[in-house]
Each structure stands twice: as structure tokens, then as C-alpha cells.
């Protein structure tokens, strides 16, 4: 049985989400834009999903735009800053960094713990700022209330919350954000669907033009099955969150403790600053690429957090932003299904592999 410690790449599909999608795909159907009965059925299902997602993230239904996932949501968000001064942290996901760079954005540094430099932010004259609330590599959690204070009320604040919903209360922690990116498959929904939460006052420029769906902000027949799955996954994640956080934090801490007890393994950032499931560590003396292959061979799935289009391991821009060597990171991320035996097997495998590579 493989041990999946790469939940940040994609989380296990929740059976509740699968069940509703299965039902919909078998018995439902229809294009939400059709005027007739079949269309109305699809439209209703879509809007029910929208209401659910909105309520769970503390937004109005009209503020939820369904997309094909987190990357599209990030691109759509950054587009709102087109032609204006945008700032984003140096550790943003590439789905933010790349469109931001195209838009001529400036970057804001982070400290050695991955927390954005609020003083620097305060000095900058920006129209829009993008700061991901939970970093996908190191798990560091930003204080968006403090960010809002630093930038003032007139600046549009976007946060990529893709890695957040299973572990923190998005409604509360992202209440200061004007734009929130969500990605269903990170919290147990299906891949291929996400949302951009856009508070009413933010003027968005659509990326996709066509039939005018999602109030002309995102053309294309909506992925109703995906939206339904996303909504149910989000509800389940929210309901189970506190229990999951308690349980997974314990397992994560056990994993981290066992690893950093070994020579040459360091805790990347203090665990109190991270989400519950993140056990990213640094192994500066180890050939991480070889380590991942050895772990893969014994069924332990982890990642280095950063790959290029060809699939080769790339130096992590996140680690480099922290002042750490870009190729020294091992990203271990637990899911709500991780068990104590998984942790035991992982520790054994990592110990054995690192010993072998040191030889």
C-alpha cells in the first residue's frame, strides 16, 4: 500500500464528493445556460453548489465565479490588476508569479520563516497585492489582517487560498481579502474545478470570452458535476476540519520530530507558523532528486515542491526566497486520511534512503 505524503499536490477525493458527482453524472446532466427544463435542472444544481461554496467562505453567491481550477482563478485575479501597480510576495505559486510578471508586478520579500515583509509592503505604492494565505511548499500561513493593515483599505488584496480550506477557516482568515482563489482538488473535491471569490466592488476583466456565463466573467459551459463535487467536498472539509487538524497535527509533529532527530535534516520553518499537514524539511547534504526516486521505489510519495514543464526537479524559488538552497527541500504533506502507520513507514524509508545516499 503506497504512503501518500504528497497531499499538497492533490488530496484524496472525498467519498461524499464522489457520491454526488456519480449521481449527477448518471441521473442529472444538462447545460445550465439552456432555457428549457433540462437546463433549469442543471442551473439549479449549479446555483445550489454556488450558494454552498459562498456560505462556507463568507461570501455572497454572486461573488463566486466557478473556474477550471486554482490556476485559472489566480490568472483571473491577477488580471484585475492589469495596467496598475501590482505587488506579490516572492513565494507565490507560479500561477500567480507568472501572470503577475507579465503584468509588470513588483515583488515583496519574505523573512526566513516565509512571512511577508509588512514594513516593505507599507512603503510600496500599490493598487493590488497578491499574498497567498498558505504557501503550497512550506505551509507558512500569512496574517492577512496584518497585510490589510499594512496596505490600507483602497488596495485590492488577492489571496491564493488553494491550500487553505482543509486546515484553516477561510471565511475568517480571508475576510480581509477582496479576491480569493480556491482549488477543489486540494480539499478533496475533483480536479478541474475551482473558483475565484471576487467581492462585489472589484472590477474583473474576463480571461475567457464566449457565451457570457458566470455573469460574463467566465465564458464556457460550467462544470456542473465539478461544482457539485467541490461544494460537497468543501462542506465536508469544513465540518471535519477541527478534528482533522487535531489528529493530523499530531501525526505531522511525530513525523517532524523523528526526521529532525536525524543528522542533516532541519525543520524548514517553525511548525507553529504552518498549516497542520505540512512537514516540509531541509536536507542540504542530500541529493533530493535521488531521494525521491528511492522513496518512490518503496511506495512513499513525496515531492520537492517544484518541477518544470518536463518534470525535472527545479530549484525552489520559495526556498531561495527564504535564503535556503533551492534544491534542499523535501515536501511531505499529510492528508486527513494519513495514519500512524504511514508515518512509521515514511520515517523508516527516509532514514534508510538518506543513509544509503550518504554512503
Amino acid at each position: 500500500m503506497p504512503v501518500n505524503l504528497d497531499a499538497a499536490a492533490t488530496a484524496p477525493l472525498r467519498p461524499e464528493a464522489y457520491a454526488v458527482m456519480d449521481r449527477w453524472m448518471r441521473d442529472g446532466g444538462g447545460n445550465p445556460s439552456s432555457a428549457h427544463g433540462l437546463g433549469r435542472q442543471a442551473r439549479t444544481a449549479l446555483e445550489d453548489a454556488r450558494d454552498e461554496v459562498a456560505a462556507l467562505v463568507g461570501a455572497a453567491p454572486a461573488e463566486v465565479i466557478f473556474t477550471s481550477g486554482g490556476t485559472e482563478a489566480d490568472n483571473l485575479a491577477v488580471r484585475a490588476g492589469l495596467g496598475r501597480q501590482i505587488g506579490c510576495s516572492t513565494i507565490e505559486h507560479k500561477a500567480v508569479l507568472l501572470p503577475a510578471a507579465v503584468a509588470g508586478a513588483q515583488t515583496v520579500a519574505v523573512n526566513a520563516n516565509g512571512l511577508v515583509d509588512l514594513d516593505a509592503l507599507e512603503q510600496m505604492s500599490l493598487d493590488m497585492v497578491s499574498i497567498g494565505i498558505v504557501n503550497n511548499e512550506i505551509g507558512a500561513v500569512q496574517d492577512l489582517a496584518a497585510v490589510r493593515k499594512a496596505i490600507g483599505c483602497d488596495v485590492i488584496l488577492h489571496t491564493d487560498a488553494a491550500q487553505a480550506p482543509a486546515w484553516i477557516d477561510v471565511a475568517t482568515e480571508c475576510s480581509q481579502a477582496d479576491l480569493i482563489s480556491l482549488s477543489a482538488h486540494k480539499f478533496g473535491g475533483p480536479t478541474g474545478v475551482g473558483a475565484l471569490v471576487a467581492r462585489r466592488h472589484v472590477a474583473l476583466e474576463p480571461l475567457l470570452l464566449g457565451g457570457g456565463q458566470e455573469r460574463e466573467l467566465r465564458s464556457g459551459t460550467q462544470n456542473v458535476a465539478g461544482a457539485i463535487g467541490m461544494a460537497v467536498a468543501l462542506r465536508t472539509a469544513t465540518v471535519e476540519r477541527d478534528a482533522a487538524v487535531a489528529r493530523v497535527t499530531r501525526l505531522r509533529d511525530e513525523l517532524l520530530d523523528a526526521l529532525v532527530a536525524r543528522p542533516g535534516i532541519e525543520e524548514t520553518v517553525p511548525r507553529e507558523l504552518r498549516v497542520a499537514n505540512n512537514a516540509h524539511v531541509l536536507l542540504p547534504q542530500v541529493d533530493i532528486e535521488a531521494l525521491l526516486v528511492l522513496l518512490d521505489e518503496v511506495g512513499i510519495y513525496a515531492s520537492a515542491g517544484s518541477a518544470c514543464a518536463s518534470g525535472a526537479m527545479e530549484p525552489s524559488h520559495v526556498l531561495e526566497a527564504l535564503g535556503q538552497p533551492g534544491l534542499s527541500g523535501l515536501r511531505l504533506t499529510l492528508s486527513w486520511l494519513t495514519t500512524p502507520s504511514d508515518i512509521e513507514l515514511a520515517v523508516k524509508a527516509i532514514s534508510s534512503a538518506t543513509t544509503r545516499l550518504a554512503a
Partner: protein, 337 residues
Amino acid sequence: MSGGVDSSVTAALLREQGHEVVGATMKLWGGDGDSGCCSVSDVDDARRVAQQIGVDFHVFNFTEQFDRDVVSHYVDAYADGFAPNPCVECNRHLKFDRFIERAMQLDFDAVATGHYARIEYRNGHYEMYRSRDMAKDQSYVLHMLGQEQLARTLFPLGNMIKSEVRAHAQRLNLRTATKPDSQDVCFIKKHDGREGFLKDRIDLKPGTVIDHDTGEQTATVAAVQLVTIGQRRGVTPGRDGKRRYVIDVNQEDAIVTVGSESDLMVDRVSMHSFAWTSTAPPRGERVSLQTSAHGVPAQGQWDGETVHLDKPVRRPAPGQSGVLYDGDRVWGGGIIS
């Protein structure tokens, strides 16, 4: 696995033979490139073939070492007026060094590639031979492999001809069955070539072209470092209407000397920085010398660092590899002085 048909079939055949096989591509060039192997789409092809034949697949990022040992070497060679062979250096430092090292780290017994060459174990050591398909023989670019490497390398295609390889690919329904072979240096772009690559990395110096017979200046060149001995392309014919070749390049004074073909002929070729399969050929040994990947071998006598040729050949460009053969068997070789 480069994403080409040769490495695809290699992996498939070894799997069919019952070996435990894992496929890997090396990411070597991190910059812009549109020719040669190992682009993102090539990696996709390699990965897909691995899926089709049912083997695991990994991508290894060796860009840093490639930059150091191949690209920088290439740039420095041109800057110093030599004509390097980056594919030789890639084989020397990456494909049969770093790659083998990684394989050993991961507890593998051997590496295999789709190269056309043969390895045999005879008289207590490993020997390398030209491939059965003479048109595809790649022993020239593999000449540097020694006992350590050969003990851990397999060339399953060495005894096959290309059409047989493609037939296997068709039989196995591999995505790469009809993919054309890649010919170019992987980090040089087709549209601006060597000059485009080097102009941002070397201070290209213009030079004058002097005719060896008349002593007169006949032309100028935009970049003296890019002129290769033996070059005919871009050299205007002489007053007698006959072809002119570059017979010498003086980097310091930026003078290119051109002459007739007879001026280009040499009766000996000296080399340095040798790598032998097993041992160097003894002094006085009769050898055949190949000075380019597809060149016709010339016969001669070896004195320990120079081949004294039976018949004159066109002078090969310094920096190229010179490979010595005993018939089809590779002795090894060095860098032409």
C-alpha cells in the same frame, strides 16, 4: 530515453528480455532550444513510451553539470579558436558519468542507451566495436568509455540495423516509431545557430582573410572565432576559380588564411588528452583514424601521440576528437591538436 525511437526500442527490448527496467530522461539544457533532443515534447514522448511498455520513468535534472562540462567547455573552446564536439563531452561527463553515478546511487546494475555500438567481453576485459549498422555507427562519440563505464553499460541496438529497430517500434506500437532522428546540438537553436548562441557569450572578433598563394587580403570575416580549419562554406573561390579552404586561423592577430585543397592536406595528425577503452595502442601499431562522426577512416601508423598517415588527408579542425580503431574495434582517442 531521449524521446527518440532508438532509446524507446532499447527500453522495450530489455523489458521484453525480462530485465527490471526503469526509464529516465536527463534534463540537460535549461535554456531556449528548439533543435536536438530532450525538449519538453521529447520528454513527453519518452514518458509516454515508458508508459506504453510499462516501466517507471524519471527525469533527472543535470543542467548544472551540463552547463559546466558541456556548454562552458563549448564556449571556451570557440573563444580559444578550437572546434569542440559537445556531444562527445556530454557522453564523457553526463551520459556515461553522471548518469551512471545516479544509476549506482539508485542501486541499479547497469545503464542502457539506444546508441549504435557493440560491447563485448574478451580476453578478460571489455571491448567496444563499431555497430553492425555501419551507417549508424556511433562508436566515434563513445570512444572515451573505459572499463568502468563499459562494465555497466548495455547497447542493445549494436547488433541491429536501423530498419529492424523501426520495425520493433512499429510492432510495439510505440508513439515514437516514425519519429525522425534528431541531428542537431541540443542547446543550439536552428534559426540562429552557433553564431546566435556564441555572440552573447564571446566577444566575437572580426578578422581578415589572406590568400595563402598570393598573400593578399581577399575578404573579411565577422567572427574569427567561428572559422573552422578545413571550412569551405563562406570562403570565396580563388582567382583561379578553384575552391578555397581555411587552412589556418591565427586567433591573436585575427587572420584567416585560405588556400587550395592541396594546402589543406596533412600527412599526420597529433592528439592529446587521451581516453582508451583499455590500453593505448603500442607505438608502431597500424591504426585507422576517424576525425569526425561520419568521416571515412584513414590508415596510418601510431607513434604514441601522432598518427602518420599512409595518404594525406584534409587537416581536421583542432578540438575535434580523433578516434583510433583496429578494424572495427575501438582503441579510444583524444583531442586533435
